[in-house]
């Protein structure tokens, strides 16, 4: 039940006055957006149709204070499907702008730049899909220096900047290098000998999996049962977070192959993250081949938003391929 006196009719006007918010009231509430929404598949509490409807009605407090308005990652899967052609991610941005003015903030943590290490090279500002990073001038050690600064209200925590920073100056809670390495090497996984080193029954695989390509917590929990000495599953915020140095480190230690799992084209939660992930793997494989390393040891695989329980066969297929390729390669060794 909604009490009419709680409705604030100015809210819709305020949102529509923001750039991108113009089409708020053209929404028919058909729910096509909710049906295609990638966030919703992961978090059923998120419903763009409801947010737009509530904002149009004027439920000021309820809309502006909700955590959901910050969860839209502008993947724009809904945009081409909306019969009213509403660019919902932009409407969300307009709602956020109003919320910011009222003193609300995006729930943290966002990516953080360590200014003393940052060279202001602008690699991250180019990489960020949300243009959430700017170079700002800071006074440090008696000199003016341009360093990167992350706008926490635009940051979607995809971790792409963390991976691309050549100075390792950007941190994102849960997905820092040290934290990923701890998860990869838990229980001494990296110290135990690999199949190539003659110490395992089957090729040992490290799978770096985009957290959005496994759609539900239930499915993710089910995958934990797959974890074994022969398979180490580690989740990334996005396959764009993958760092070739980490892949190489695993190959140097004891992994026989590394599988990077991202989303299918057009289904990336973070706009272009999956393209960056597969671009990196593609280049890395090219360099491995040039150096006489079997490029098959590293693979990028995609999971579709509607795929269920697809990781298991992917891993099995990769292991099969590794066994074949590496057997041939070992035979060719002096």
């Amino acid at each position: 039940m909604i009490a009419a006196r709680e409705l604030d009719l100015r809210l819709a006007d305020e949102i529509m006055a923001e750039p991108g918010g113009e089409h708020l009231l053209t929404c028919w509430s058909c729910g096509t957006c909710a049906a295609t929404c990638l966030v919703r598949r992961f978090n059923p509490a998120f419903n763009p149709r409801r947010i737009l409807h509530q904002a149009g009605l004027g439920l000021r407090q309820q809309v502006l204070s909700s955590a959901e308005i910050w969860q839209c990652s502008a993947c724009d899967a809904c945009y081409p499907r909306c019969p009213q052609q509403i660019h919902i991610s932009q409407v969300m941005q307009a709602i956020r702008n109003v919320a910011l003015r009222e003193g609300y903030q995006a729930p943290g943590p966002c990516a953080q730049v360590e200014a003393a290490t940052c060279s202001g090279c602008a690699v991250c500002t180019r990489a960020c899909p949300y243009k959430a990073i700017e170079r700002v001038t800071q006074r440090m050690d008696g000199q003016e220096r341009a360093v990167a600064y992350v706008d926490g209200n635009l940051c979607q925590r995809c971790g792409i900047c963390v991976a691309v920073c050549p100075s390792r100056a950007i941190r994102l809670e849960e997905f820092n290098d040290s934290e990923l390495l701890t998860r990869i090497g838990a229980d001494g996984w990296l110290e135990r000998p690999g199949w190539l080193q003659g110490g395992a029954e089957a090729p040992r695989i490290l799978a770096l999996v985009c957290q959005w390509s496994i759609r539900s917590e239930v499915e993710w929990a089910g995958l934990q049962a797959l974890q074994s000495d022969a398979l180490r599953l580690v989740n990334l915020p996005c396959s764009g977070r993958v760092d070739p140095a980490m892949i190489l480190l695993a190959l140097n230690q004891s992994a026989d192959g590394v599988l990077v799992v991202g989303c299918r084209e057009g289904e990336c939660h973070y706009q272009r993250g999956t393209y960056l992930g597969r671009g990196k793997v593609m280049l890395l494989r090219e360099m491995m081949a040039a150096l006489g390393l079997p490029p098959e040891r590293v693979r990028f695989a995609e999971l579709g938003a509607l795929d269920r329980d697809a990781l298991r066969p992917l891993v099995a297929q990769f292991r099969q391929c590794l066994t074949e390729v590496l057997t041939v390669a070992l035979r060719g060794m002096p």
């Binding site: 602008a122 690699v123 390792r168 593609m282 280049l283 360099m287 006489g292 070992l330």
Partner: protein, 337 residues
């Protein structure tokens, strides 16, 4: 005041590192007041027998340039390690393998064939390859043999400090020498003669910050704008993944950074860091777009690992005995001899 004993050596190198010492200019006179040069093949007439005759630890500081490519290089590296209190990997070759390290892609036999037979400037109608031993009426002539893998100094013996650069900037060499003479050295294992952060920190060019690249080009294909960030012009510049120290020399001469100062602090693999930075700069909102832009990079292996291949994680991931293991085995044999 007692003088310190200073040695310098060239292993597999181009000679540029020795020039970097000569470039100290009049500082050499100051150096001569506080240091005796006990061994420096590029400039003085000492022989190997002279070092062998020295007591262990007689040399206070050795500036060792060049990579370890031949048995002779490895032998002298071990010898100088024994004779020196401080052994410094001087320049990119000794520190990380540098351009000679790229010969590890195809191996020493290919390098020999290329140098002696295939290079267009060769005049070798009989197709003679250099031999380890050759009998002459006057007696046998020998040449040191090439090792299977080119190694960095640290892959052969313990190194106390490294001074990066191809060659190291003479200002930085002088700064490092002053620190050595004054006994104000950082913790062992540190880099000498560098500045904090990366080349971009010292680069005066303007960066728009949001401009992505739709195709990469090579320096000879364009006349680069002298004010704008090279990467934003579509030229692969390794500045973002290169330790500061040179003062952005190449960039100021309108050439993109090539990466000779090695990876920034805390980064193990310069090539991987560059790969990240370059892919992230690619324009495009589809798989095909990124694929197209990435495919315009010519020779990514030689470009990203131009200086650091020999001690990279990439080379370490090679099949069978990893580079590290092979080196360890080789080193063990050398020490046993």
């Amino acid at each position: 005041m007692t003088k310190i004993n200073l040695a310098a050596y060239w292993a597999s190198s181009c000679g540029g590192c020795d020039i970097a010492i000569v470039e100290l200019g009049e500082h050499l006179l100051e150096l001569a007041q506080v240091a005796d040069i006990v061994f420096w093949p590029a400039a003085t007439d000492h022989k190997y027998a002279d070092i062998e005759a020295m007591a262990d630890g007689f040399v206070d500081v050795t500036l060792f340039n060049g990579a370890i490519r031949t048995e002779e290089d490895a032998h002298i590296a071990h010898l100088l390690r024994r004779k020196s209190k401080l052994l410094i990997a001087f320049g990119s070759c000794a520190m990380e393998g540098c351009v000679p390290g790229l010969s590890n892609i195809q191996g020493p036999d290919h390098a020999l064939r290329r140098a002696a037979l295939e290079a267009p400037s060769n005049d070798n109608p009989q197709g003679v390859l250099p031999q380890g031993r050759y009998a002459m009426p006057e007696g046998d002539l020998t040449l040191p043999r090439l090792c299977k893998t080119l190694r960095t100094l640290e892959q052969v013996t313990t190194v106390d400090y490294a001074l990066p650069g191809c060659p190291p900037n003479y200002d930085q060499v002088w700064k490092a020498l002053q620190a050595i003479i004054a006994g104000e050295l950082p913790a062992k294992g540190s880099l000498l003669g560098v500045d904090p952060r990366t080349v971009c920190d010292q680069c005066p060019r303007t960066r728009q910050g949001k401009l992505r690249v739709s195709a990469f080009r090579r320096p000879h294909e364009v006349i680069a704008d002298p004010e704008q960030c090279f990467l934003e012009q579509g030229l692969v510049c390794t500045g973002p993944a290169t330790h500061a120290g040179c003062g952005a020399l190449c960039v100021k001469a309108n050439m993109p950074c090539r990466g000779c100062y090695g990876p920034p602090e805390g980064v193990v693999d310069q090539g991987a860091a560059l790969l990240n930075a370059i892919v992230a700069s690619c324009d495009g909102q589809s798989d095909a777009d990124i694929r197209r832009v990435v495919s315009t990079i010519v020779d990514p292996l030689g470009t990203f690992y131009r200086f650091g291949l020999a001690n990279s994680l990439l080379q370490g991931a090679r099949l069978g005995a990893t580079a590290g293991d092979a080196c360890a085995a080789q080193t063990h044999q050398e020490e046993a001899r």
